[in-house]
């Protein structure tokens, strides 16, 4: 378990994927210190709407407050520690603990505790603990650190112009899928950061070019035709983006900043509109004020736990929430225009089909790796050229861990 002498370009040593004490360290150093993607505003559209999030040892309430921002509260009652809100999502005025009915304001202040005979009880000492919350372009981030990393506003400045035109505040959740993968959260992220394995995604292959991550030099002969089609589609996408003033350039700072990010707008195969078999739209209502359905996919990767696809007709957000060293909750949320009507403007099965299938395939890949990491004969393996983003993720992770350990 050497952080100082990591073998660059190779996967981590097995304990990083299996050891509970390293998992605890991950929770402190990564999930306890950095900005973590929580949800989109579409999941908490109105004041009083909340979601509860659990990861590692933490439990949090993310509540849309009356000022249009978010309050992030530790979901740990200050009386005897019960979970204050137990539903995964809901709407509330004040927050009432179900155990002895201690009542907290949406700001977390303890405003009521029935206390017959308590002469010296000082409510002001028992507010719910708060954490940091931030909304950027309709995405909600939270940070448990006392002093959150300061470069996040620069990261937000990078992604806002890409994401804002999709107007997430005018979307609604069409579907949300929670799957628990029997794998370490880093394996989930590693798997997401490459398309080397994309042959294993037949549904996705219809719209996603299998040349993702490749370049002119690395393109294999059997993909040359696809590469040409990809190049053409990309050129016409970029032409449209310039016309509509939409940014598309690749910005890649995955391990060169604390708020690690990669964002770009890339073409899709077929009609180039959405993740469907023929590339056509899956929802008939355009998002935001977008003028055209053929906007490919704006894809964003954020360290440590999220990735996103934003299309003309819908948006998919992905978040990984670690449960234990070998278990991770992967949450996928499909957003459509808030005036799109299910069954009229979109068919839920069709809308979600590609990524539901892809997620299951990815889950299987991640679990295969987790099993491998548990074998005494597991040895670090090399990341290939097309897996440079995996390397970047691991490099980012190792740097953050080193900083934390000091």
């Amino acid at each position: 378990m050497r952080l100082d002498t990591r073998r660059t370009g190779f996967s981590l040593e097995a304990p990083f994927y299996t050891d509970p004490s390293l998992f605890n360290l991950d929770m402190q150093a990564i999930f306890g210190q950095h900005w973590v993607f929580a949800c989109s505003v579409a999941e908490i559209p109105e004041p009083g709407d909340y979601v509860t999030l659990d990861y590692g040892p933490y439990s949090l309430i993310v509540l849309h407050n009356d000022d249009g921002g978010v309050n992030v509260l530790h979901n740990v009652c200050r009386h005897r520690g019960a979970r204050v809100l137990t539903d995964p999502q809901g709407t509330t005025g004040n927050l009432v603990c179900g155990y002895h009915s201690w009542t907290y304001s949406p700001e977390g202040d303890l405003i009521h505790a029935s206390a017959p005979g308590e002469m010296t009880f000082d409510k002001s000492c028992y507010a719910l603990k708060r954490a940091h919350g931030k909304i950027a372009a309709g995405l909600v981030f939270i940070c448990l650190a006392e002093e959150p990393p300061t470069d996040f506003h620069e990261t937000a400045k990078i992604f806002e112009p890409y994401i804002a035109p999709h107007e997430l505040a005018k979307t609604k959740v069409a579907y949300q899928q929670n799957i628990v993968e029997e794998g370490n959260w880093k394996l989930v992220m590693e798997n997401n950061r490459e398309c080397y394995h994309c042959d294993g995604h037949p549904e996705l292959a219809c719209s996603l070019f299998p040349t993702w991550g490749l370049t002119d030099e690395t393109i294999p002969p059997h993909l040359e035709d696809v590469w040409d089609r990809n190049q053409q589609a990309q050129a016409s996408l970029e032409y449209r983006c310039r016309r509509y003033g939409l940014p598309y350039e690749v910005v890649e700072e995955l391990d060169t900043r604390v708020g690690g990010i990669r964002i770009s707008r890339e073409s899709l195969d077929g009609a180039g509109e959405s993740f469907s078999a023929d590339g056509r739209r899956l929802s008939k209502k355009l998002l935001g004020d977008l003028p055209d359905f053929r906007l490919g996919r704006c894809s964003m990767h954020l360290q440590p736990n999220s990735w996103f696809h934003l299309l003309g007709d819908h948006v998919i957000t992905f978040a990984a929430f670690p449960i234990s060293a070998s278990k991770t909750l992967v949450r996928t949320t499909w957003l459509v225009a808030d005036d799109a009507v299910e069954g009229v403007d979109y068919d839920l099965e069709t809308l979600t089909h590609t990524w539901k299938q892809t997620n299951l395939q990815d889950k299987a890949f991640v679990e295969l790796c987790q099993q491998g990491a548990a074998s005494p004969f597991y040895e670090q393996g090399p990341y290939m050229k097309s897996e440079y983003q995996v390397e970047a993720f691991i490099n980012w992770y190792v740097q953050r861990m080193r900083e934390h350990v000091g």
Binding site: T103, A271, P291, G312, D339
Partner: protein, 504 residues
Amino acid sequence: MRSSAVPALPLAQRVRGLEMPWNRVLSSASEPAGAATALGPWHPQEFAAECVETIPEAGGMMVFVFRRMDGAPLAFRSGQYINIDFPIDGPNAEPVSRSYSISSAPTEPWTFSITIKRDPKGKVSPWAHDHLRPGTVLDMLGPVGAFHLADYDRRARFLLLAAGAGITPLMSMIRTVHSLPGQADVVLLYHGAAPDSFAFSEELDFLANVDFRIKVIYCLGDRECGDEWEGRTGRLSTSLLDELVPDANGRQVFACGPEGYLNSATELLRTVGVDDTSVFMEFFSGDREIRAEYAEEVAIAGEIAEEIAATTEEYFESQPAALDMYEPEYDADGPVEAVGAPTEAVDAEAVVPVDAEVEIEVVGVTDENLAEAGPDSASDAGSTVPAGDGAAASAGESGDDDEIAVVDPAALPTVGQGEHTMSFVRTGLNVCVGEDETVLQAARKAGVKIPANCQEGMCGSCKVVKLDGDVEMNHLGGIRAREIDAGKFLPCCSTVKTDLVIDA
């Protein structure tokens, strides 16, 4: 063209999307006032209208401006048509019935106009051109038709495709967009047979000049034309669309013209990626099937008009869903939501015998030179229908148990004292209550079980649903405005104002 001495103005700021003014009238809780009443609800009516003006237009067309004899404005949606009885064979003979699109905007409802192209072989159009004069009064039925702009459109990006006289309903749409605020983006691609055949071209040029939201492109098809022609040439084609409207893909397309033109447009639009559900077409042709559709729509409109004439109120209650094609939704009190009702077309596939009595003239182009007959594709685009904004009125949450609703509060035993009665329909008890007592106190005294904790309106644990009556509530954050709107309240911090019915 703006003179160079005029300094450039900053771009206008507008609200998102296009909203028809009657939405406000119809969704207003108070009684729609005065003249606004006349603007909705609209439904086909039989009325008489007087011609007040005739204006010659290019392309052998004539604009006839009318006003209703009863003084009411004509309420319609931009793109609809009316059916008119022409007394061609004299006042005592059976009139000849024809349908014509309205070319004026519904935002100027006090007069309305139709535009008729003279068809030398036709029966009605020459008569209209020769005999219809200011002072002539005609019987009409309308408005009819599912080809129209939506009442509310958050994404008001339109591609209007017109060929020849097909400009008529689209002219109404352009005038409407121009007359309303709101972000819109309109491209009109207008095909004509000859340089001097473009009706309304001066007004269109003017609108395109003064309104940055409107773009007009004239196109001559692929016939020879002189050097002085500054517009485009070429049939409707994918390359023409790609060049002139490269974002057609994200627009709603309204197309009107002869059948061949529209059939080829259907194919082309598909090719450039416009979704079928974003394409709305009005066939201006004498095709038998289309005449049948028009006849059927007019017949239904006539029935509706008769029913309304009989009794407006009963009509609102009895209107079958299938006929709900021109209407916002109604209940006994009138319209419930202006933007809520998707319009619905008459089934285009239905085979309807053409009624010899209801003769439908070809209102549009008969000039074969113009018709850009496309491949003989099936006209399956039919009369597609603009989808209304489907957001349904969110009904307040009420008791989840239907049986509760049938409990008659008067039949319940009554306890307590006070000037108001609270009927707890689940408990099955009437509790009298004074004005200085909270609902919770009185309920508890009477043995009604309502969980409660803080008793100060903070924790929300006493929240119940009020089925009827008013309370005064002084809560401390235990309830959300949304929940109050849904009929909930906190009995611990509420006193009664009227008799109550409570779902507890």
